[in-house]
Symmetry: none
Subunit: 221 residues, 2 copies
Amino acid sequence: MLVSYTEENYLKAIFALSRLYNDQEVSTNQISEHLKNKAASVTDMLKRLADKKLIDYKPYKGVKLTDKGKKTAVKVIRKHRLWEVFLVEKLNFKWDEVHDIAEQLEHIDSDKLIEKLDDFLGKPKADPHGDPIPDASGKFGVQKSVALSDASKRSALIVTGVSDHSTEFLQFLSNSGISLGNQLKIEEYNDYDRSITVKINNKRSLFLSHKAASNILVEIK
Amino acid sequence: MLVSYTEENYLKAIFALSRLYNDQEVSTNQISEHLKNKAASVTDMLKRLADKKLIDYKPYKGVKLTDKGKKTAVKVIRKHRLWEVFLVEKLNFKWDEVHDIAEQLEHIDSDKLIEKLDDFLGKPKADPHGDPIPDASGKFGVQKSVALSDASKRSALIVTGVSDHSTEFLQFLSNSGISLGNQLKIEEYNDYDRSITVKINNKRSLFLSHKAASNILVEIK
DNA sequence: GCCCTATTTTAGTCTAACCTAAAAATTTGT
DNA sequence: ACAAATTTTTAGGTTAGACTAAAATAGGGC
């Protein structure tokens, strides 16, 4: 069965949101904010996706992707990230220019094309933003930790370690309420002094200097 | 003003048909056959394209592209052919596999992408089928190819392209052992059904129906 | 010039994907 | 526990782009 451009975007949004919120059910409003359309339109589409067995949908209770829906979403993500690598490494785009173009290219429908592109690029493991590229079977490779200051904005992150082991820093973390295993999401990135605001476990917000952020290690969930 | 995927396909069809028929007005039926839509749907779309000043449309009298429409059509053709070069030269697709994929890629909307792709490919002058690639300003290089069915007997001819890009036809050519750059010479011309016999590279002889010959483009050596 | 045939347009439907406004269900606060 | 606030769904409308069936127009042959 064919999945439209628009349906793919909904599946991708649901996949991203469910990762962000600990694999919980995703609500209609979350999707509507993410895609910037009205909640009523989302309900409409959810019914269509449920008919196609791409999601499990119980009215008022949110949605989850089925295996079929997850497979479709992951494939779109694979295509998106491979195209981003192509744009940056082969066509010399800057990493912050490629998103909108990849947003279009990700919907090109040809399995043979994806695999040949993957070969051409040398089977890269991550895109230019550091986000992992799932393999042809849909598996994401093991994550390598990066500094929080280098992490990409849209992903859900897990605190895995620190690179400054001083008592002062560890105390600072403790006072700030950050500990190993916490989930972080970058909310804002200030170009001026490279400070950031993060949300911890989807609850509190916290301001962090670049210095602090550069010493916190995270991996993409 | 934005031009949709579907509108681009209509403009491309009108451009191709008007070239095929000496820049005359293109009829509703010609377009409907070319795109395999019903004539009523075509009329519908012609009105929309006329509203957007992409075509000149007089009911019952056929259509012509305006300068704006021609510019849009040529840009789509440029994109299509550049992507075909990419697919064949970089991703190692065979020349008869690329049409359907390029048909999707041609609608990706980013001027910067086209120009960077053009640079990456070394600003090619023709696609893998021998069709010329217009430059960024929309100019085609000189083209003097004619249909094999219209070529004169006895001259040495070089295969430069095809006018039917269907997989079926390209496969047929491949099976018949005809490829770009081959030298052909017309040996016999049968008035009854306008079929011909050609000699390929001064070696093998091959029988070709008028239909096949009319879709092979050659230039006089 | 007029009839016949082929082409083209009009009129009315359909579906996907959006929208607004109103109703229904759920969650929250006290 | 129940009223208020929030979220979600329903109902009904819009647009692009397709369709079928019927009406209008154009063009060729006599």
